[in-house]
Every structure is written in structure tokens, then in C-alpha cells.
């Protein structure tokens, strides 16, 4: 019975926690500029995320180690310094973007400039982390995040053509601006498969003391939660495509993105959009901050747990506090949250091979996963998609940036 409750809670909170600043902005821009045409990218990204999170849970259950700890032991510090540095930089950029996104959400609700609300929001995130257990961080915010289902509801109310939607799951070439199209496809993958999610999920499996006999819960939660969660990101894209594209509105800011809710929800449009964006961003900010604590503690061998007293894990508690302060400082300086988001998610795809490929090696090492190694097909799919994605990103990002 407990396993069933864990499964339902896991799937529901995964749906609620699926979208955040990156997936909302990339899906909204894709819909506004290319209609339904990039739905396939969301489907591929969600499948990749489902495979990777299932693996990270399986690794923790079988090896009793979180992902970062296993990488340190298997590959040593000389190798790990590269993915560690990359993940810390990405975590900082993404956390800044999430705080900015939450600030924009408050601005939409109250009219107060987002830079004025960044510090109170960061204090709120820190307070939740400081006073709560892991379960509150993961499940509490995930349940609140169910408000993001309003994107699915909006898309359903607008009545998209089922045939058009189905055809969009097959990759096709765009009628205009191929570089931008490829950049958005890469960004969707980067926004969905955020590196912090893998170590966070792996650490969470240890926090929740999942056992080998519960591996089926891990599999069902990761596949079910991510595939249903992807429907929310698809809801953003479809709503944006049906509302913003006919009006030739490009999403240059979150305020413009909020317009996509007007035909479906009328006077509630801005409130619902702001709540979806705000809760999604706060949930992601909590996870990224906590993940930085997990990451550093596991690499350097400090004691860690969100379920223990904060003073018993002083270095872990300090680590998540410091990254939050650093991200708040950058956010207050006034970076455009949307631009920062797009840079972070695109860079994610470039560095993905140094994170995913060693992970695949671990998942085939019986010292760590015993008899639960990956299948050759799973290895091939993930390695292929990761390398192709990184190659595309290396070509497309300079073209997009220098081409304006």
C-alpha cells in the first residue's frame, strides 16, 4: 500500500514539478515561432529525461551511492573536476534564472518591479530549505505545481486539430530560419534534461531510503511522471502556437508569454500564468539549491541530508545557502531572466556528454549496479542522442548568437 502511495505521489509531483522557467520559455518561444512543429523535441527530451532519472534512481538503490559520489569513486577527481565545474556553473545560472522567473511572476501579480522582489523570494526559498524536510521540498512544491496543468487545460480549450498535433511528433524541416529552429530544439532538450535533476533525483532516492524491492516504483514514477509531465510543456507550446503565432507575437519577455492564456481564461489569464510560472520557478530553485549542497558534499565526502539537523551537516547547509546568495546577487544586478534562461539551457546540451557518458559507464559497471545494468539499446539511444545533441549545439549556438 505504501509503495502505491509513493508511486501516485511520485507521479503527481513529477507532473507538478515538470515545468519551470526553462521549459516554459523554450516551449512558448517554439510555439510562437514555429507552431506545433517542435512538439517532437519535447517528446524526445522527455523520453531522455525519463531514461536518465530511472537510471539515477537505480544507481542509488543498487550502489547506495548518489550519482556524484559514484562518479568520484569510479573516475577519480581528475575527471570529475570537469563535470563538477560545469554543473556548478549551470546550477548558478539556472538558479539565477529561476529566481528571476519567480520575480517576474510576482511582478505580473502585483506590478512591483522584479528586482525588488528577488531578495524576499530568495529568503523564502532559503527558509523553506532551512526549516523543511526533503519530503516537503519534493512533494509539497510538486503538489502546488499542479497549477501548471492550466497549460494543458488552456490547450484543450483552444481545440487544436488532432491530425496537426500527431504530425508534429515526426521531426520536419522548418519553412523559415533553420538555425533558429535548431537552436530552439536544442534549447528544449537542455531545458528538460537539466543536469541538476539527475543528481537531485539520485540523492532523493537515498533520502527516501528506497530499497531494491521498490525499484519498480522508481521505474513507474520516472517514466509515468516524466511522460505525463511532458504534457504540461506540450500544453505551453500548443497554447502559444494557437494564440501567439497567428498574432505574430514573439516571446521576448515573460509578460508577452502571459498573453497566451487570455483566450482560454479571460480575466484569470495573468493570475494563472503568474502562479504557474512562479510556483514552477520556486520549486526548481529549491531543487537546484539543494542539489548544489548534495553535489559538493558527495564529491568531497561531507555528511549530507535534508532530513537531518542543519547544524549536523554544517558544510552541506552552508553550500546550499552560499549558492542561493550568489544567484540572488547576480539576479539583483539585473540580467534579463529570459535571456539568461536561454543561454543556460543551450549550454546544458553542450556539456551534457561529460555528464551522461560517464553515467552510462557506471550503469554498466557491476561493481555499482550489480545485476541491474543497462540494456545495450538504452545505452545506444542515450549515447547517440547526447552526442548528436552536443554536436548540433556546438554548431547552432554560435550561429544563433553571432547571427543575432
Amino acid at each position: 500500500m505504501s509503495a502505491i502511495v509513493d508511486l501516485v505521489l511520485g507521479v503527481v509531483t513529477s507532473i507538478g514539478g515538470f515545468v519551470e522557467v526553462g521549459s516554459i520559455s523554450t516551449s512558448a518561444q517554439s510555439g510562437a515561432e514555429y507552431g506545433f512543429q517542435l512538439l517532437w523535441a519535447i517528446a524526445i527530451a522527455a523520453a531522455m529525461l525519463a531514461l536518465l532519472t530511472e537510471m539515477s534512481g537505480r544507481l542509488s538503490v543498487m550502489s547506495k551511492r548518489a550519482l556524484a559520489a559514484a562518479v568520484r569513486e569510479r573516475f577519480g577527481i581528475h575527471f570529475q573536476v570537469v563535470p563538477l565545474a560545469a554543473e556548478l556553473v549551470l546550477d548558478l545560472l539556472l538558479l539565477t534564472a529561476e529566481l528571476g522567473g519567480a520575480g517576474i511572476a510576482v511582478k505580473l501579480l502585483t506590478g512591483i518591479g522584479f528586482q525588488w522582489t528577488i531578495v524576499p523570494l530568495a529568503v523564502m526559498v532559503w527558509a523553506i530549505l532551512w526549516f523543511s524536510s526533503f519530503a516537503v521540498v519534493e512533494h509539497g512544491i510538486g503538489l502546488l505545481g499542479l497549477v501548471t496543468l492550466s497549460f494543458v487545460l488552456a490547450a484543450w480549450r483552444l481545440g487544436p486539430d488532432a491530425g496537426d498535433l500527431a504530425r508534429s511528433f515526426v521531426p520536419s524541416l522548418p519553412a523559415h530560419d533553420g538555425v533558429r529552429y535548431a537552436f530552439l530544439a536544442i534549447s528544449i532538450v537542455g531545458a528538460t534534461v537539466s543536469p541538476y535533476l539527475l543528481n537531485f533525483y539520485s540523492s532523493g532516492t537515498i533520502e527516501e531510503e528506497m530499497k531494491r524491492e521498490d525499484l519498480w516504483v522508481n521505474t513507474a514514477t520516472t517514466y509515468g511522471g516524466n511522460m505525463f509531465g511532458a504534457l504540461v510543456a506540450m500544453g505551453v507550446l500548443v497554447t502559444s502556437a494557437m494564440v501567439l503565432q497567428p498574432l505574430h507575437i514573439q516571446v521576448d519577455s515573460y509578460e508577452q508569454a502571459a498573453l497566451m492564456f487570455v483566450p482560454a481564461f479571460g480575466r484569470w489569464a495573468v493570475t494563472l500564468f503568474a502562479l504557474s510560472l512562479g510556483i514552477g520557478c520556486i520549486g526548481a530553485a529549491l531543487e537546484i539549491s539543494l542539489n548544489t549542497g548534495y553535489l559538493l558534499a558527495q564529491v568531497f565526502g561531507w555528511s549530507w541530508s535534508a532530513n537531518k539537523r542543519r547544524d549536523e551537516n554544517a558544510r552541506f547547509s552552508t553550500a546550499f545557502t552560499v549558492i542561493l546568495i550568489a544567484a540572488t546577487g547576480i539576479a539583483v544586478l539585473g540580467f534579463d531572466p529570459l535571456r539568461l534562461t536561454m543561454i543556460s539551457v543551450a549550454l546544458t546540451v553542450v556539456v551534457m556528454p561529460v555528464m551522461v557518458l560517464p553515467f552510462l559507464v557506471l550503469m554498466n559497471d557491476r561493481k555499482f549496479v550489480k545485476d541491474r545494468t543497462n540494456t545495450p539499446i538504452g545505452n545506444a539511444i542515450l549515447a547517440g542522442l547526447t552526442l548528436v545533441g552536443a554536436l548540433f549545439a556546438l554548431i547552432v549556438i554560435p550561429l544563433e548568437v553571432f547571427g543575432g
Binding site: K64, R65, A69, R72, E73, G76, I77, H78, V81, W130, F131, F300, G301, W302, S303, W304, R309, R310, D311, A314, R315, S317, T318
Partner: protein
């Protein structure tokens, strides 16, 4: 025993099961006419930094010195203090009584000023 696979970078646990850090460096003893043997393991950022490069080692040592960690030197655990090597390296020490705990203890004193730190 394979030094790199079985010892280096493994988690080091004290006699109470508390994490002390990782085996950041292995110290070998080379005697005349005899094969090298493991003399100790070292735990600490300065040992880890030395592995990455002398500059990193000096920087880490200076940082730790600032925190009052035994002049920035790593904690050297003699091989006779190693209780066993499994998934972790268990050692016959109490983390809180070693200089390696200085950073943790200093941060703990700061953290305890904040409300909710002992929840």
C-alpha cells in the same frame, strides 16, 4: 588491493559511522630493496588540490589555514588506524577530534546562531 580502484577517492568513515571526507591521497613508503607499501591515506582539500596541481594545493592549503585547519595540512591517517575497506574506508578515529573537523565545527558555530539550525 588495487590502490586507485579500491582506496583512492573512497569515502572515509570514522568509528561512529560519520563521514570524514574521502581518501584524497595515498602515501606510499618505499624501502630499500622492498616493494612500496601503503603507509597512510590523506583526507583534506589541500591533498586533493595537490593531486590537481601544485597551485591548487597551495591555494587550498591557504584557504584551510584561514579556517584554522592544522596549518592547512591534510589529515594523515596511518594504515594501522584503518579498520577495514569495503564500500567505504572505516578508520579508528573520531571525526570531531581531528583537525579535519575544524571547518565543519566553525561553520556549525555560525549556523547555530540562526533559528531552526537544531531542528
Amino acid at each position: 588491493m588495487h590502490l586507485v580502484r579500491d582506496l583512492l577517492d573512497k569515502a572515509v568513515i570514522d568509528r561512529n559511522g560519520r563521514e570524514m571526507g574521502r581518501a584524497d591521497r595515498v602515501v606510499l613508503e618505499v624501502g630499500r630493496g622492498s616493494p612500496p607499501r601503503v603507509a597512510a591515506i590523506e583526507v583534506g582539500a589541500s591533498a586533493l588540490g595537490q593531486r590537481l596541481g601544485p597551485g591548487w594545493g597551495r591555494w587550498a592549503a591557504a584557504l584551510l589555514h584561514g579556517f584554522g585547519v592544522d596549518h592547512g595540512q591534510p589529515l594523515r591517517i596511518h594504515v594501522s588506524q584503518i579498520l577495514g575497506v569495503t564500500d567505504t574506508i572505516a578508520v579508528d578515529l573520531a571525526f570531531g577530534q581531528t583537525p579535519a573537523a575544524n571547518v565543519e565545527c566553525k561553520l556549525r558555530r555560525i549556523i547555530r546562531v540562526l533559528p531552526g539550525a537544531d531542528r
